[in-house]
């Protein structure tokens, strides 16, 4: 009788891979990050009876089951409602000038005649290429931008806590990133916020994708003090005496009722346009001076995705540790769905790159989260779920991979 291995985070005990792409059933769905606490049980991507993940199912529907002309009509009618005629901003586009936000802002302005204000929640540590692309977004793309950089001392401490408590260093960043759109909308008197893709593209429940509007829970709260950052509540930070409520201004989610009263709506452009991340790359190169990473991004084969933050590679390292899914898996799964590569090719790439350690910015990251290398590995190893990892001759190996090369496959 086989012993069932313990699974952290309430993840499914049996690791399975989608028959169509290479994502595994351990992939967590989007969380309301400021409620994220230690040991929380994760909701994960759904697999149907044929072993196909919901992102692939959604993608098939995208290809055949959606009338995109109709969606375009809906988009135009939505934009008509919000378009200003007095030169004021009429849509907030949150983003960093990466391929997705570059595409969104540019197409809204130059194809659909809107007047977007792009707002950037600053990366922890800009990469050279990230900064360059951000600038090009403005200078070549012809767009307006507000770069919002939160208090670095607090942000660093939150990130450090997030790393150690949740093994999720990006958590505080995501809080800010989700809030900034609606928050800026309120400040500038703009009613429409446009994001890119709904996470159903990547495996949230499909029902979410029949709705163009983002769930308000992601960016608004009824009780600011209970918000958690790095698993630590705002109240607890204040209790240390180092911070006051003032310091949390960037993170305080807008009040739900307030947003409703102001008529603020947050939409996904991915509902209205057939979303293809690689095509966003091409568009942004042609129109906003975007450049791919000069070198292959660590942990994957690609050069065009998520290249602006030196902390980014560590986000993917932690998804690898917690869920067995690294950056390459995410990239490859997306490209399989969008018909750029086959599943076999994806599997091969994942095998080749997924577990590559992000060396380039490691020292800087350790400094940023004020952690020694030993402590880094202690925390990382603590979070390895026994049902995903096995130690073989002092080396950690995955029990299961999409190409069946895991220790238990």
């Amino acid at each position: 009788m086989s012993k069932e291995l313990e699974a952290h985070y309430g993840l499914p005990n049996q690791v399975k891979f989608c028959k169509k792409c290479v994502i595994s059933n351990q992939r967590p769905s989007s969380t309301i990050e400021f409620k994220n606490e230690k040991g929380e049980k994760k909701k994960v991507i759904n697999f149907n009876e044929d072993g196909v993940c919901s992102a692939c199912v959604y993608h098939d529907e995208k290809e055949t089951g959606i009338d995109w002309e109709d969606r375009d009509v809906k988009l135009r009618s939505l934009l008509d409602q919000f378009r200003s005629n007095d030169g004021s901003y009429d849509v907030i586009v949150p983003g960093s000038g990466g391929k997705d936000s570059a595409f969104i802002a540019h197409i809204l302005k130059y194809k659909y005649g809107m007047n977007p204000l792009t707002v950037t929640w600053a990366p922890h540590l800009y990469t050279d290429i990230g900064w360059k692309n951000m600038q090009e977004w403005m200078h070549t793309g012809g767009l307006d931008n507000i770069l919002y950089t939160p208090n670095g001392i607090l942000h660093q401490e939150m990130t450090k806590n997030a790393f150690h408590n949740l093994l999720h260093p990006f958590q505080p960043f995501i809080v800010g990133q989700r809030i900034i759109g609606p928050a800026m909308a309120k400040k500038f008197g703009v009613k429409l916020v446009m994001y890119g893709e709904n996470q159903a593209e990547y495996g949230n429940s499909i029902e979410e994708n029949t709705n163009p509007i983002m769930n308000m829970d992601f960016f608004s709260s009824d009780d600011a003090l209970s918000m958690k950052f790095g698993g630590v509540s705002m109240q607890e930070y204040i209790d240390t005496g180092k911070y006051t409520k003032d310091d949390f201004a960037p993170y305080i989610a807008p009040d739900k009722q307030d947003l409703v009263d102001n008529g603020i709506e947050v939409h996904y452009l991915g509902y209205y346009l057939k979303w293809d991340p690689q095509e966003c790359y091409y568009y942004s190169v042609d129109n906003t001076g975007f450049q791919a990473n000069p070198v292959r991004t660590e942990g994957t084969y690609s050069k065009y995705s998520s290249i602006d933050d030196k902390v980014d590679p560590f986000h993917y390292l932690t998804t690898l540790i917690k869920f067995g899914i690294g950056r390459c898996t995410y990239d490859a799964a997306q490209e399989v769905r969008n018909d750029k590569i086959t599943r076999e090719e994806a599997s091969y790439l994942v095998e080749k790159y997924d577990t590559e350690f992000p060396d380039i910015y490691f020292k800087e990251f350790l400094e940023y989260i004020d952690t020694s290398e030993d402590d880094f590995w202690r925390t990382v190893d603590k979070h390895r779920s026994p049902h995903i990892w096995k130690k073989v001759d002092e080396v950690w190996k995955l029990r299961h991979t999409s190409s069946n090369t895991g220790t238990d496959d």
Partner: protein, 252 residues
């Protein structure tokens, strides 16, 4: 002065021709064999097929394509991407290629160029160099389809491959390729000054005028274009006419 050769570069992934930007992206643009025949019929001087994903999958898989292409394309064909062994070269030539383009393997093992040019002749061996601008006057050699920096200087490496026996250099600007914004003229100027073997300039052409500007400023022998042809921005004849109008000799 030789006639300038106008070369069509077709990047291939499996059965599709693709076109990226900065050697990134797999956007499909057509059937590589059909495209090659069309360009041949339109008067292109040469075809280069590059296996764009050989580096990812540690394979090379263009032999079937070359065999097919040979049946309808009677101009020189170069094949590159994943050429790693003497057998790879043998198979490529047996399939109908006239030349092979070698990058990654040569950087890792420069002797491979010497070896292969001795066995097959220099005229068969094209050194494919991917160049990324570091700062004014300095470019770095990249491998694996524009993914891995090597720390090598492009000009030094170009000189070296000539000494090793390469017959030609196909020099691709990673910064410009796919952008259709013109060639990196300084790159070609600098390299052409330092080598005596023919250079094919690849990367950045958006229109015939770009080729004119390059040819008037750098001593190169051939221009390769992809986007202009694949995206049907200009025809082969239109490109050649532009060159002729500027007193640049081409095969009519």
């Amino acid at each position: 002065m030789n006639k300038i050769r106008v070369v069509a570069r077709i990047d291939v992934k499996n059965e599709f021709a693709i076109k990226g930007i900065h050697l990134e992206g797999l956007r499909k643009v057509g059937n590589p064999n059909t495209m090659a025949r069309n360009y041949y019929n339109d008067g292109i001087d040469e075809i280069v097929f590059m296996d764009a994903v050989a580096a990812y999958y540690d394979r090379n898989s263009l032999s079937e394509l070359i065999q097919e292409a040979c049946k309808g394309v009677f101009i020189p064909i170069t094949v590159g991407g994943g050429i790693r062994t003497i057998d790879d070269i043998k198979n490529a030539l047996k399939s109908g290629a006239d030349k092979v383009a070698i990058n990654t393997k040569a950087v890792k093992d420069p002797n491979f160029i010497m070896q292969s040019s001795k066995i097959f002749g220099s005229q068969c061996i094209v050194s494919s160099i991917e160049a990324k601008l570091i700062k004014n006057g300095k470019w770095e050699v990249y491998t694996d389809n524009g993914r891995e920096p090597t720390g090598k200087d492009v000009i030094e490496w170009a000189k070296h491959v000539g000494e090793l026996g390469a017959g030609e250099i196909m020099l691709t600007s990673i910064d410009k390729e796919g952008t259709k914004k013109g060639f990196d003229i300084d790159l070609y100027k600098s390299v052409a000054k330092s080598v005596s073997i023919p250079i094919i300039a690849s990367g950045g052409m958006g229109q015939g005028a770009d080729a004119v500007e390059l040819l008037e400023n750098a001593d190169i022998d051939a221009i390769a274009t992809a986007s202009v042809l694949h995206c049907k921005m200009e025809s082969v004849q239109e490109i050649k006419n532009t060159l002729l109008q500027h007193q640049i000799k081409v095969r009519i």
